[in-house]
């Protein structure tokens, strides 16, 4: 269970945000107009941005209390796929996974299945700097899925993918979330085919509401 009540003042790169919610196991679909703060909320949950006040709890851990980060990003067991370019250009897809495996357990079955479903087999040895937008998006999704130990944060995970691949990616996200008992927050402009969210969240004017 993810529980938060966070306040963020506007600053360079993001607008003000007030977000309170309790999200259980399963998928949560987060919608809202552009610039409303969807990506900012995920960055807050990921520990990439520090809130001014409020609390953030994951299961029985206090992740942040006011502006103090009690559990830093790398110890949160996250799978986070940011919306824009987040891969190290000099690394291959394989390098990205291996870097994570030095600090988190490798689940070979999960990895093999994700590589297969996302059609990434032939791309694993290619440098991220040489990938197209859609390819990079799939690699970022793959890293999030293989790194995830409980909380999955996906920011527009399939927008750059062709429909058939997008459908398979969403299916993979939904089934892994279900099997692994994850909590997944998926940001999307529109409902995603194949995703039946347990929770619906909406951000408007910097305020999060449970729809």
């Amino acid at each position: 269970m993810l529980q938060f009540d966070l306040t963020l003042k506007a600053a360079a790169g993001h607008s003000a945000l007030r977000a309170t919610a309790t999200i259980g196991q399963g998928t949560a679909l987060l919608t809202g107009p552009s610039g409303a703060g969807k990506s900012t909320l995920l960055a807050l949950l990921a520990g990439a941005i520090t809130p001014q006040s409020g609390t953030l709890r994951w299961r029985d851990q206090h992740w942040s209390d006011g502006p103090r980060l009690l559990v830093p990003s790398h110890l949160r067991g996250l799978g986070w796929q940011p919306q824009s370019a987040s891969l190290q250009p000099g690394w291959t897809a394989r390098d990205h996974l291996d870097a994570t495996y030095r600090f988190r357990p490798r689940r070979l079955d999960l990895e093999t299945r994700a590589i297969d479903r996302l059609d990434l087999g032939p791309l694993m040895a290619r440098r991220a700097g040489q990938l197209s937008a859609g390819e990079a998006q799939r690699v970022a999704l793959l890293r999030a899925l293989t790194a995830c130990q409980g909380l999955l944060l996906l920011d527009e995970p399939v927008t750059a993918l062709p429909p058939e691949l997008a459908r398979r990616a969403v299916e993979l996200i939904a089934s892994l979330t279900d099997e692994q008992g994850w909590t997944a927050i998926v940001v999307s402009h529109q409902p995603l085919e194949g995703l039946l969210p347990e929770t619906r969240l909406e951000i408007a004017d910097g305020l999060l509401r449970t729809a």
Partner: protein
């Protein structure tokens, strides 16, 4: 050793020494809020703006017999010449490193952290490689500045032939003593060396 070789040696050692200080300081400063970062940047750029003789004089007071660091007996040793090159190159490398770290897309580093990499690994494996071209350029500039160092070296390292007399100091001394041929040769060699360095630098930039 010949003055030119000493110049190169002191500049290389000085650049290494300055990198040890400039990189961690730039990494630290890049994480500070803007006003504090600007203050630190101004303070650490001072050696670039203050006349080298003034910097040398301050060092002389610091390292002299009665100075607080007099016990180190550094004055007029090769170590002092290395220190002079390091100090002269420091602002150049520090500023280049700070700019390179600031230009790193923050999302690449924070995504790596979220994927499990602790801060040290994020710095060593993600941020440093991303900043590599900026760091190389800064180091080359610091090296070039170290080779050309004159003022600070004169004040704290002197001009002991074969020991602390660098090319730039030797040119001054040769000219003052009327040894025009010696000066000509040294100037030609320095021109060649600096030209080569600049060429390497622009090739490195283009290669990126």
């Amino acid at each position: 050793m010949t003055p030119l070789l000493l110049s190169l040696l002191f500049a290389c050692a000085g650049t290494l020494l300055t990198a040890l200080a400039a990189l961690p300081l730039a990494a630290w400063a890049s994480g500070l809020p803007a006003p504090r970062r600007a203050a630190i940047e101004s303070l650490l750029t001072l050696p670039l703006v203050v006349p080298p003789t003034a910097v040398g004089y301050l060092l002389l007071r610091l390292l002299g017999h009665d100075g607080p660091l007099g016990g180190l007996h550094l004055l007029f040793t090769p170590a002092a010449a290395v220190l002079a090159a390091a100090l002269a190159g420091f602002p150049l490398l520090f500023r280049a490193a700070l700019a390179a770290f600031e230009q790193t897309p923050p999302l690449i580093a924070s995504a790596a952290a979220a994927a499990g990499l602790p801060p040290r690994a994020v710095w060593l494996r993600v941020r440093l490689p991303l900043a590599a071209s900026g760091l190389t350029a800064g180091a080359a500039l610091a090296l070039a500045r170290g080779i050309g160092e004159f003022g600070i070296t004169m004040m704290i390292a002197g001009a002991i032939p074969g020991r602390t007399e660098t090319a730039s100091v030797a040119i001054y001394n040769a000219n003052a003593a009327g040894r025009t041929t010696d000066a000509d040769q040294l100037v030609f060699a320095v021109l060649l060396l600096s030209g080569l360095l600049l060429l390497m630098l622009s090739l490195l930039r283009r290669g990126r």
